[in-house]
């Protein structure tokens, strides 16, 4: 983030997303939004409030509840000169749209020998602890990371959300953009001037010497909280946010691992076969001889997300559990 002498304006993550969309829609008439309740309702999370008033119902388009259908329309529109931003209210609905994303959007460029492009963004959400139970709480981004041809973006701050979303909209590939439902109200500095953040560049959110916590999206704030707890115990933790899971800035992760020699990977998706497995592999394949301990992975428990609050809270990492894991890794 650029250093600035004057106080920088603060926005919530939801406001940053909305501002990125509005700026890109003003900049490029081909950009439009489609999804369920995106217009007057401004989505179930009110992230898009006001956009239909500025851009009209042709560019902020309410759809029927037909996720495969309108995602497919987004794929076709993205191939033929438009830049759709498709809104999938809950990330759990990935199951409904997977053919359109994995078999259509992801493959058309390759299957056509590079002749067709699909310029589209799929905005969706992740994150548990909202008391929404098993079908509205999952973090399924690993599904999309598994498919060549897709890019997967996981912002953790309002600043990153705005800069990354603008890059995603300008990208000529299908990009899946994840927003943590619990972070929509999170405030952070967002400069007034136009800026973008390139996809594929990690960000060191906190410098440290003793242990690296690689964290994504919702887990970045958890990792920063854990780092503050660790500081009280005399452990200096570095927090690294890949920001995009694909493309992946492996170098920044490896450099940090080599510097601190201990690594925890925290991601809210299911741990088993999840993003943490891939990130841990990158570290072990490239920094094994610099490590003092095995890489520790922390993800959602391998259970459907339960409704009951104490049960749900137990399924995902939090500041305390990350801190405890870090202390154990440091032999404390």
């Amino acid at each position: 983030m650029p250093e600035t002498a004057v106080a920088v304006r603060e926005l919530t993550l939801g406001e940053a997303v909305r501002e990125a969309l509005a700026e890109e829609m003003r900049r490029d008439s081909r950009v439009f939004i489609m999804g369920e309740d995106v217009a007057e309702a401004g989505t179930a999370f009110k992230v898009l409030s006001g956009l239909v008033q500025e851009f009209g119902p042709d560019r902020v388009l309410d759809t029927p509840i037909s996720e495969p259908g309108f995602t497919g329309i987004g794929v076709g529109a993205g191939m033929t000169g438009m830049r759709p931003v498709v809104d999938i209210m809950f990330g759990d609905f990935a199951g409904l749209i997977m053919d359109q994303m994995a078999n259509q959007a992801a493959k058309i460029h390759y299957m056509s020998g590079g002749k067709w492009k699909c310029s589209m963004v799929l905005r969706t959400t992740l994150g548990a602890t909202r008391r929404s139970a098993a079908q509205h709480s999952q973090s399924l981004h690993a599904w999309f990371c598994h498919i060549p041809g897709l890019k997967v973006v996981m912002p953790s701050t309002p600043y990153d959300a705005k800069g990354l979303l603008k890059s995603a909209i300008r990208d000529d590939n299908p990009v899946v953009f994840y927003e943590d439902k619990m972070m929509y109200k999170l405030k952070g500095p967002v400069p007034e001037e136009d800026y973008t953040i390139p996809l594929g560049v990690a960000d060191v959110k906190r410098q440290g010497d003793d242990i690296t916590i690689i964290a994504t999206s919702s887990m970045v704030q958890v990792a920063l909280g854990a780092a503050r707890l660790l500081e009280e115990q005399g452990v200096s933790a570095e927090v690294v946010d890949p920001r995009t899971l694909w493309p992946l800035d492996e170098k920044t992760l490896i450099d940090s691992a080599k510097k601190t020699s201990r690594v925890i990977v925290v991601d809210e998706g299911y741990g088993r076969y999840g993003a943490t497995a891939e990130l841990a592999s990158v570290i072990q394949e490239n920094a094994f001889f610099d490590l003092e301990a095995p890489v520790k992975r922390m993800g959602a428990m391998h259970v459907p997300i339960p409704f009951s609050p104490p049960l749900e809270d137990a399924t995902v990492p939090n500041e305390r559990t990350v801190c405890e894991a870090a202390l154990a890794l440091c032999g404390k």
Partner: protein, 332 residues
């Protein structure tokens, strides 16, 4: 099924030049497909292919009613659609053989031929996989005001896919210029349509307010005439249409489907081949109306045969892509 194989009266509105052009194009598809079968039988072609023999009048009649810059989406049984929309024989064969000179640099193969220059958004190996893409292309055309119409080809097997109905609903809501062309060859792979489609197929469109018609898919003049009407209507902004073309797959589901008696009789096949071959139907009409004589038709056959032979020779001699191209074109 007696109503299905009934012929249509000749349409005097179709001029002789057009009729002969459509005749030539049907012959091209027929000889192309026979050559594909030959390549497969001689183990010269990798993989499988789904032949369009028997259905040529649909692709030709529909595509003749389109402008060069109109879009089509195609299916696993797509060679005929691609050729009818203007694909070159040599590059088609090159793609089928996995050669660098193919339409998709050999990366797509028989089921994925795509070509922006002829408005071909791509053949699709997921049944109904292109329904969203076609509707999205129509969405772009409407937004961009470029007057293009999209034809979405699919087989009657796609009637079992929900996404077809989702996008028809949205195409009707938003009056998109898209024609859904259902090629009803009566067999979902190896299963008769009576086992897979309940109710009246032509009643599905009207439920969404989509005008629906059926046509004798063995009569290229009838297919052209009805398509022209539906395309003109769509181009004027009057919205989508559904066209069911009744036809028959003369060969198996794919080139390896040789023994077919367990799902359909030889008598049934023979009846279609002897009575309802689209090229025979056209030949009889051309001679009966004295549009030209048998010698001229023989001349067309031999000219097309030479084009096919040249195309195969080109493809056989063309080099495979270098292995270093395998990671090219994953991302734009």
């Amino acid at each position: 099924m007696s109503t299905v194989i009934a012929g249509s009266p000749p349409d005097s509105a179709i001029d002789n030049k057009l009729f002969l052009r459509m005749y030539r194009r049907m012959v091209m598809i027929r000889l192309f497909e026979e050559q594909v079968n030959d390549l497969y039988t001689r183990a010269l072609m990798p993989g499988l292919a789904h032949l369009y023999i028997g259905e040529e009048a649909i692709a030709v009649g529909v595509c003749e009613a389109l402008r060069a810059d109109d879009y089509i989406t195609s299916t696993h049984r797509g060679h005929g659609h691609c050729l009818a929309k203007g694909a070159a024989i040599d590059r088609m064969f090159a793609e089928l053989l996995g050669k660098e000179a193919g339409y998709c640099k050999g990366k797509g193969g028989s089921m994925h031929i795509a070509d922006p220059d002829t408005g071909n958004l791509g053949a699709n190996a997921i049944v109904a996989g292109s329904a969203g893409i076609a509707t999205g292309a129509a969405f772009s055309s409407k937004r961009l005001g470029n007057g293009r119409v999209t034809v979405c080809f699919f087989g009657e097997g796609a009637l079992g896919q929900g996404v077809v109905y989702e996008v028809m609903n949205m195409a009707a809501l938003w009056k998109l210029p898209v024609i859904y062309v259902c090629e009803n060859n009566m067999y979902n792979e190896y299963t008769h349509i009576s086992e897979t489609a309940a109710g009246d197929i032509l009643a599905r469109g009207p439920a969404f307010g989509v005008p629906s018609e059926s046509v004798d898919g063995q009569d290229v003049r009838a297919v052209y005439a009805v398509t022209k009407r539906l395309v003109d209507r769509a181009r004027k902004g009057e919205g989508p249409a559904f066209l069911m073309a009744n036809t028959y797959r003369f060969m198996g589901h794919h080139v390896g489907d040789i023994s077919r008696e367990y799902y359909r009789s030889k008598q049934e096949e023979q009846k279609w081949k002897s009575e309802r071959d689209p090229i025979k139907v056209a030949t009889e009409a051309i001679l009966a109306q004295k549009i030209t004589d048998q010698a001229a038709l023989d001349q067309i056959q031999s000219e097309v045969k030479a084009e096919i032979e040249n195309g195969v020779q080109f493809a056989m001699a063309a080099p495979y892509p270098n292995v270093d191209k395998v990671e090219q074109d994953v991302y734009a």
